[in-house]
Amino acid sequence: MNKLQIHLMIMLLGMMLGGPVGADIVVVVNEKNPVTGFSHRELVDLYMGRNLHFPDGSLVYRLDQEPDSVIRKDFYRSLVNKSIGQVSAYWAKLLFTGRAMPPQVLNDNNSVLSAVRNNKNAIGYIESINLDNSVKVVARVN
């Protein structure tokens, strides 16, 4: 099997398991957070650990989804064009320094939604279909 065939199979598998492909992913924060939006770069710096603070200086509480989830895969692919494995390796490399920590992993969209609703400094990403008015969209991926 060549690479193309592998890609095709993965795509088919994704379609069967994870609903509609290419569904919009939105990055959300607490309603009370003063931030209005993030550029792509600002989002990368936040999620990859370079910038750990919101513009007002408060520490960012980052939320991630299940490592095996399609949304996480799609999110990082869109954000930094890297696979989950590459991102995990990135964090593993930094682990020993004790200075950079990966985002907090939650189970699903709803867990993320509720965590963002409850924490003013939280930031997370969910599928747009799960969006409600209790959170503020600061960026849209895809």
Binding site: R41, V44, M48, G49, R50, L79, V80, N81, K82, Y90, K93, L94, F96, T97, G98, R99, A100
Partner: protein, 537 residues
Amino acid sequence: MSIKFHHSLSLRTGVFILIGAALQTLLLSFYFYKQIYNEQLSQADHQIDQLVSTIESSAAVAAYLDNQELAKEVVRGLASNDIVLASSLRSTSGMRIDIGDWVNADGSPTDESKVRHFKLVSPFMPDESTGEILLRPNNEDIEDRANTVARVYVLTLVAHSLGLTLLVILLINGMLTRPLKKLAELLHSTSPGSSDRLPMLRGHRSDEVGQLISDTNELLDSVQITLEEERRLRLYVESVEKRFRLIFEEASCGIALVDDSGRITLSNPSFDAIMSSIVGDESKDTLKFVDLFEDVHLVGELLKGARDSSALSQDLQLASPQRNSRRWLHALFSPVRDEQDELLIECILYDISERARREQRIRQEAERDSLTQLYNRRAGERLLEDALQKAHDEDQMCALMLIDLDRFKPINDTYGHEAGDKVLVSIAERMKEALRDGDLVIRWGGDEFLVFVCPGTQIASVSVIAQKLLDYITKPIEFAAGCEDYVGASIGISLYPQHGDQLSDLINQADKAMYKVKQRGRNHFQIFEPTDHDIGE
């Protein structure tokens, strides 16, 4: 001749191969050393590139995050390599981690040109520069290592070349030079023409050396055959030459070659003997051929004639200081040309003195009276005619004396013929003694003699001569031991030209005068006195 070591093939080939190999090795070493050295340097560069590429992602992350721990880890890792003297990671946001000797031993900062820079980009934003890595390569170490590697390579090359060279030298020496040297020695000790042949060298039967040996032997074969042929021919020529020389040397005739200038260029011993009999042993080189002969002019003409035409022959008299030892030679002249095409005259001389003497003796026997050795009457008449002619030509006065012995017959009868002969011989000798060489004495008859003298113009001297003759004749003669006697003589004389110019007349007149002496009592002389009767006749 032995070949000196420094000229020998083995040394020279060895030296040439060594020099060639050394030159080649030197050039190759030089080239390879440079090549390998540079290769090592670029390899070190490449190594540094690789080194950096292995930590590049970590370094990029460290610069991206300004993560000092990670940066230190990376930089330390780099600096721990031998080829890195110092390393540094700088992020665009200001983080700077330096490890290693960024300053020289003397405290001066590192030369910027020796520092290598590697740009770092964000791991997530490839277009965003996040910092750079600086490396100071350990050039000294790199160069040392490059040196070592290149040197090892060159040493290997040299050892390889040396080994190969030695092998080639040994092979050439063993396969080529040694057999050639051996061959040269063998050939050198072989004398051409002998039956010596070169032995086949072991292991070379079917190669070029073997072929050289067999070809050389073939050559020696043909040389031997040729030399033997030549030797046989030379011996033959020598024997022929010896025989020719024998003929030349031992010939009884004198043989000589005379050149254009009349000098004798070659002569055999017989000729030399003829020469030394004439001129002694004095300079034969300067002697001219013609000088050997009495008639120089004639011989010169003969030589010229032989040169112009063909062979000439002539009886010639040798020049001689003594008149009585004259030698006669029969000479043969013929022209010959030598190798230089010079015309020479070959002269062959036979000694014919003996023959000439024999001829003279025969003539003498015919002319002379065998007992007294005086001219006989027949020869005497001819001689008298000649003498008269000569006297006429020279206008001389001469006297003809007719002598008749007295008392000869009684002696002959008394003592015998032998005594008579003895008397005649003695009288003949005495008359010759009394007269000069040029005077003629002839035995005219049994005891009758005739003398012809030309004493000059004086009649008186004729009388003196006649008296002298009488005196000599009348002396006693010892014709046997203790037995002697004497004879007398009656001499009648006629004079030329007073009494006539005809021989018969003169003889007649002398006879008449003698008759008168006999009538008057013998033992006297009388000059003819013409009477009227005589004049009238």
